[in-house]
Point group: C2
């Protein structure tokens, strides 16, 4: 795929070179090249995709991006390199010398000695046009290509960085990572409608279950983490969870990621809230300091008003009815548009496993939600009922004693006070980046009527 002119030129430069062979150019990433402090003619090879091209009389300017950073590397070439294949979207390999750039826009630029078009780009069919900023809704139609835009590139780099930061936070805090199962036979947690799973050949004869019993996609790893918290005092999981809800809202997906933690010998909501706060702050700081330009891009173009605010907390307690999205919004606004912890929900509204506060007529459980501006519920957590007889009563009331005998067992053999929380990872990204629609912070969004690729 060498352009003929380009090949000729390469050969020419070869033969005219003095005898000692040139050292082969070292392959560097765009990020690596941009990071060179005082470029001094180092011979390098850069590979990536053309994000922009500008042809002047005698000079050709290319911007090459390889996904290692938001910024592209400026390539300066003799206009003789120009060719029809050298166009927006095509992939190239450029060899040349890294030099100090005369422009203030960048530190370094690559003086091309050789440019190879690796794969051309069918510009007519390519759904993204050069120099056009396409709306996010438009990009969603092209899940196989949208990662090639600046904005999705930034979001996905931030997502990767945040994933790493979350793993590090827990590892540094002494938590053991647990892969809680995706397929589970638990079906009574009441966290919305479930997806059921059967081999495709048997989907029409569901009475013959592959696992002998009906199984579902997990809605939360909590109960499985609680198993582990009978042996490890601090555990966490970070994986996919599912809801078969008929929602196309900007805050819901059928498949999304949750970060969940469970802590043994934990006796107060305050201690739990400290971990939640620390997880949020620590990882957000890491992301902000490791990807400042990616975060800035999102803030600048997507949600100028949504930069991260000073983080503070206020506590409200003993609410009488469940909070709906509107209530959450009102609460957050009322508190001055900052993240708000809401604690101690009425027992009747919450699942069986939450710890009874035994507080008389109000009768609350030790639950906590963290609401954040623009997103609503970001974290949900609680102390768990570790007292055998109280849990048994709850399960009996719901007719679940038999199904949850294993869960009761955890309270029969060395039970400990414990608690935990779950954080919606996509909502966390929405919150950090100020991105309005949850479909834009996950690589391949799944929701009612839509499962592309």
């Amino acid at each position: 795929m060498f352009g003929a002119r380009c090949l000729l030129r390469a050969l020419r430069s070869c033969s005219s070179a003095p005898c000692p062979r040139q050292r082969p150019a070292a392959r560097v990433s765009v990020r690596g090249a941009l990071g060179v402090q005082s470029a001094n003619g180092e011979r390098v090879k850069v590979q990536g995709w053309i994000r922009s091209i500008r042809s002047q009389k005698e000079v050709l300017f290319l911007h090459v991006n390889d996904g290692s950073s938001l910024e592209s590397l400026q390539v300066v070439a003799d206009s003789s390199f120009d060719s029809r294949e050298l166009a927006f979207g095509s992939s190239v390999e450029v060899q040349g010398q890294l030099v100090k750039s005369p422009s203030k826009k960048q530190n370094v630029e690559l003086k091309a000695e050789k440019i190879e078009v690796v794969g051309s780009c069918d510009a007519k069919a390519f759904p993204f046009k050069y120099k056009e900023r396409h709306p996010l809704e438009y990009l969603r139609q092209y899940p196989h290509l949208r990662c090639r835009t600046n904005v999705l590139g930034s979001v996905l780099r931030v997502r990767s960085e945040a994933t790493a930061a979350i793993h590090s936070f827990f590892k540094d805090s002494g938590f053991v990572h647990i892969h809680t199962p995706v397929i589970t036979s638990n079906d009574c947690e009441g966290a919305g409608e479930l997806f059921q799973v059967e081999p495709s050949s048997k989907i029409k004869v569901p009475e013959e279950n592959f696992f002998n019993i009906p199984v579902f996609l997990t809605v939360s790893g909590q109960l499985h983490l609680e198993v582990m918290s009978g042996a490890f005092t601090q555990v966490f999981t970070f994986g996919p969870t599912f809801r078969a809800e008929n929602s196309q809202s900007r805050r819901h997906l059928a498949e999304f990621y949750m970060v969940e933690a469970e802590i043994s010998f934990l006796e107060s909501l305050q201690d739990l809230m400290q971990v939640m706060e620390s997880l949020f702050k620590t990882t957000a700081m890491t992301v902000l300091s490791n990807c400042p330009k990616d975060v800035e891009l999102c803030h600048k173009f997507l949600a100028p008003g949504q930069k991260i605010r000073t983080y503070a907390k206020k506590q409200l307690s003993n609410w009488g009815a469940d909070l709906h999205t509107e209530h959450e919004k009102y609460l957050v606004k009322h508190c001055g548009d900052i993240p708000v912890f809401v604690i101690n929900y009425p027992l009747v509204l919450k699942p069986f496993y939450m710890r009874d506060n035994e507080d008389g007529p109000q009768h609350t459980v030790a639950a906590v939600d963290l609401l954040v501006p623009g997103v609503g519920e970001l974290f949900g957590g609680s102390l768990r009922e570790e007292r055998y007889h109280l849990l048994e009563q709850q399960l009996a009331r719901l007719g679940l004693t038999e199904a949850y005998q294993w869960y009761l067992d955890l309270r029969r053999f060395g039970s400990v006070p414990h608690g935990g929380f779950g954080m919606g990872f996509e909502r966390y990204l929405q919150c950090i980046l100020g991105i309005d629609n949850i479909k834009d912070v996950i690589p391949f969004p799944r929701f009612t009527h839509s499962c592309l690729l």
Copy 2:
């Protein structure tokens, strides 16, 4: 749940103490306590479960474990602390002084000043008996309790450590982490039978699809990673994958974890093999150096003959027929019981996306498997067909052109040579730990006829 005697004693020691209040004991993990180099009477609080108890005339020895390490902390207490509730399996909180141990078995021990039984253990009903070593098959019946045994504790700590090491390896190498989807509409990759997914309320009327089309649990994140490798030159994913195969073998699960990577501008299998080798070596070294005792336990009790061997490679090429488990075993044995790369498989045996070697009558594709002793196939990888017309021919041959139009698109817009691999994470753990059955290296194994919890 304070024992009365214990409470009395605590009060007594309180009143007899000189006036200035004692500083509250600092909470430490067992690992933290064991790591204190020259213990000198520091007052600490340790929480965990009793793994052993030995009562002598005047002294009581407890071993307390909290999952932070394989080793337990020895607690030495006055025999007056003894109580019926202080038994194998119960949870305790112990306060006291960390002192140098007179025994050679440990550096430090905890001289108890206060012992609280947090949760007692119903010894009769508890399926694990004190001082007994239960076979792994037996433990499998108790997925909610087996993490409390030494061996599963070690396996799960190693699993957590290996997970972190794998994330670090890729991050340090500049890879972007991608959450490839669990639910997918791709159904033609030919990697065994698929699980189909529908809301549980609609499982009996599958014609009304929640996503408008039939969807399945992913068998691999590869194709979605290839999407990303059109924007990022190095990407990886590490998540659950599924097979609805009717197998109860010691090497197969219906739900298991895969580490998958995809690299753009990659032109040779050798380069790919280098990444595979480096991933395996780097992470195995990290695990071995961070969890030496956990790994040792597995080697000592489970598979004395299976310690990690010197890693080397031999290459065989151009095999005529597909390799079955027996062939793989033979090959590995023939090569001296070391890991073996097998490269260049016949095109007809492999999926449509593998790169055609165009090598005449033999007609192979640039595929590579890494076989390891005791486990068989650990890695599978290939260069991918990046040439539009060749891929189009393959898809047309299989009648898949329409379904994979998006995949062809990736070759229309700035295509690049690329390749990648997948590594079975449970097999990796089996290999490192010498554990025979895959069901023992995953917290909650799922296979035909079995989905406990």
